[in-house]
Assembly symmetry: C2
């Protein structure tokens, strides 16, 4: 509108990106590309042993910090394999707690690697001088690790988060009121309508997470704050001070919950209309006729289920596919399963977005990574979910709750169960109708999610922050924030008032009794 | 974007508007005109004794409900005059409480008039049949009174609010978590950073308001719900169930606070660029030279300060203006003040928006009505505030807190004070700079506020509601919402565990003591 002029005028901003490795980089990369194409200059901070973030790029400058250990493929795959074998076994409370602690010790060592990188960076006077002189307009960071908040504070420049998780858990919990009575914790598997027992579990889960964070993760970052900042600063407050939180969800996907003025929802920002398929794939798809196509992919990282713990599963899945009248395109990088049917095409890579947008595709077998789930939602394709790790169950659960997906937990997966789920999703029309409805809702926004994100990044550059959108309530002590001091004070006042009233009434009564006594005498 | 097609397709929606009288109608009217010009058909519900809402209109059909008493000018002016004489006197706590109760009894009788209208409407079988058959797509209502929520539920159609106040107070308090530790109550005069004493007062103020609402207002609407709805329904829940809340604020104006996914901010939706002034006014403005112009208006309702209680004030103001080197345009409908200077032009009406957008205008003397405050903010003109009633002090206070306005409380207003305030606002450049900064922030939005409002109204028509954006947490009992039942349960569990541990340890100890004793013996 009439301000578009000033918006357009803001070109040539300088953005310092502090990303996280792996799949997190995949989505940060989309913002980096978009910022570059809008005329901004982007510098990306990376570790010397980076796995996904390349040193050379046509659309960003990289700044490399040397580290002794990085997040390489080996580190991640070892952790994933451990997780998967846990998931396939029957769970008990003890096993679950043990597993949680094991996961947190893995997380803890991951954060230790990050902290080494931050320390190396700050100690490198030459690098810090260069960063200071670069006069960046803002830091764009993924708060699932703490480097962004620390660096932005060190350089005294505005901070924008590309966020779903912070070092403390789901991002909203850091910034918005989150009543645990109807906001399920990630990993709890609950919806926004919980029974009493579920609410008890949800609060216990929260306490456990809080404890683990305060023991394993926060102290590492706090130590850096204490060492390098002159004034005493709480690391959590540093994160809460971010100007804008670009959340990678929207409320078609996420359960409705309280939010804050500086939270911008860009869920599905990575989605786009599909392009035509390559010739050979199109021929295969058309050969399916009216039965249509099923596609299966377990995400970028998991080309195949871990061989040592899940080779049998691969055979069960292949055998189930073989019995379907549909044709199947399966991203599978391992050995060809013995039970593979003629209708199933194994591929090393598939154009997921283009397939999901194809009218012949009837169902999507997915692990529940954010990217796949959002693309399925965008194109309105129903999902059979095989959740493996992290937030995958929760992602799929949100689709299932709205009638667009069917989840198969890893420990009950076999041919019969898989076949049944596939047939249900294909033949019960409600799955497709629900996904199509979600797709319509998601697409019916005043502005594309990616444009929304870019607008607010540029807004922060134009106005050097967004302080007017941010409460500073997080600086209050917790008992003041919850008004416990005021309630205590009022309770004492009320108690005192009652006490004195009773005291005075008793005095008067006594005196009257005394008088009556004296009269009688 | 790619969905604009479906957006454009939605034309010819049928909207039933349930407005409130007076200044509330002034802003609802803007939405009505805009909906009409987008091709929707709008019906407006009005009382037979309506003051502001005309029966005949070129852009809406009116539906008239007969009432014995309406909100006429007399009712409002009598109430205002009472308020003003209170405001000019010195306050004490007792006086304040007495005044609050008097105000609430006035409010109560206003709501009684509304309830009479709702009852007459529901009892009019012909009218209800007609409304039912009209098949409206949504009800657009002002929730400062309860007719909209009741009617929407009765007709079973989606509900959108054009809101700043509900029957319970400030709109956010009904729908979003509102920690009283940093969210000041309207009328408290506090900011979002409160001292301990202020926080105590804020909570007391809240309790008083809650009490007064539950005694004077809610029961009237609840009686209607109990009489006309078969299932037991809580009136407050009816209001909380609205699909979209179009809030008449934004966070350039309002203090940052928690919000909800179904709250849309359209603060300043009534503002627009200025048009050239009429010839004679332009000549007068230009004659001011470099000193520029001051404009003064006390809003649509208050053409002059109440004669019986404030005739002296009018003279003081005129005398102060007479001493300024600026020229003054003053909307004043009363007698010409004796002290009027040559530099002051009295007018019955002024093109406020066009004047505020004029570069010669240096300051705006305003009563703090939402409309004037928003227009001043939009055009970046500093304000000298003379708050009279209702939310006017709070509106001005938000500008003052950000350095764009100076408030003169009614009880200290005289020539000297007024002159001093005028000179400060004119000569301290920070006032203008701050207002200009607010103006830039306000205008830097991805979408015009009015377009945003229209988008979400049409969204609700397209999707027959917006249930996915609305939590249903308000249906929980308050102790469950705040997890008090879970905390109680866990406390009992912990207590029992400690008790049994102590018990068992004591038993073991006793037995050991006994054994030792026996051994010794």
């Amino acid at each position: 509108w009439h301000h578009s002029k000033s918006s357009l005028l803001y070109r040539g901003g300088k953005v310092l990106v502090v990303p996280l490795e792996g799949s997190h980089w995949v989505n940060m990369d989309i913002l980096v590309k978009a910022l570059h194409s809008k005329g901004h200059s982007v510098s990306v901070l990376r570790a010397s042993k980076s796995w996904y973030i390349k040193e050379e790029s046509s659309y960003y400058n990289s700044i490399t910090v040397s580290v002794t250990e990085g997040f390489d493929e080996e580190f991640v795959i070892k952790a994933l394999s451990k997780l998967f074998s846990f998931l396939r076994s029957e769970t008990s409370l003890l096993k679950f707690i043990n597993f949680q602690f094991e996961m947190f010790s893995t997380m803890s060592s991951a954060h230790a690697r990050v902290c080494e990188m931050i320390t190396n960076m700050i100690e490198d006077k030459g690098l810090m001088k260069k960063l200071n002189e670069s006069q960046f307009d803002l830091v764009l960071a993924d708060p699932a690790w703490g480097a962004g908040a620390i660096l932005a504070h060190y350089l005294q420049i505005p901070l924008v988060f590309n966020v779903r998780w912070t070092t403390n858990g789901e991002g909203h919990f850091d910034i918005a009121p989150s009543p645990l009575s109807y906001i399920p914790l990630t990993g709890s598997g609950f919806s926004d309508k919980m029974t009493f027992t579920e609410r008890v579990k949800n609060i216990l889960h929260y306490s456990l997470l809080k404890l683990q964070n305060n023991v394993f993760i926060k102290p590492q970052y706090q130590a850096i704050c204490d060492k390098y900042f002159q004034t005493k600063l709480d690391f959590t407050e540093l994160q809460q001070a971010a100007d804008i939180w670009l959340m990678r969800v929207d409320f078609v996907f996420e359960f409705p919950r309280p939010t804050m003025p500086n939270v911008v929802y860009m869920g599905g920002f990575q989605c786009k209309p599909s392009n035509p398929l390559p010739q050979d794939l199109e021929v295969f798809v058309q050969s399916a006729g009216d039965h249509g196509i099923i596609i299966m992919s377990l995400g970028t990282f998991v080309g195949q289920l871990p061989k040592d713990v899940a080779a049998d599963l691969t055979d069960e899945i292949a055998a189930a596919f073989a019995e379907m009248p549909q044709k199947v395109i399966w991203r599978h990088t391992g050995d060809k399963p013995a039970t593979l049917g003629n209708n199933t095409l194994l591929v090393n890579w598939l154009p997921q977005n283009d397939l999901l947008g194809h009218p012949k595709v009837k169902a999507f077998v997915a692990h529940g990574g954010t990217n796949g789930v959002q693309e399925a939602l965008y194109h309105g394709v129903p999902v059979v979910g095989l959740p493996l790790f992290f937030d995958q169950y929760d992602n799929l659960f949100r689709l299932q709750e709205r009638g667009g997906a069917k989840i198969i937990p890893p420990h009950i997966l076999d041919k019969t169960v898989f076949l049944q789920a596939l047939q249900e999703v294909l033949h019960d029309p409600s799955y497709r109708m629900n996904m199509q409805r979600l797709s319509r809702l998601h697409k019916d926004q005043p502005m594309k999610p990616l444009d929304q994100a870019l607008f607010w990044i540029e807004f922060v550059m134009r106005h050097k922050g967004a302080a007017h959108l941010r409460t500073e309530s997080y600086k209050m002590p917790w008992y003041s924030y919850h008004s416990l001091d005021v309630i205590g004070f009022l309770a004492i006042m009320a108690f005192t008032a009652v006490f004195f009233t009773v005291f005075i009434v008793r005095c008067i009564c006594c005196r009257m009794c005394l008088k009556r006594k004296m009269k009688r005498e």
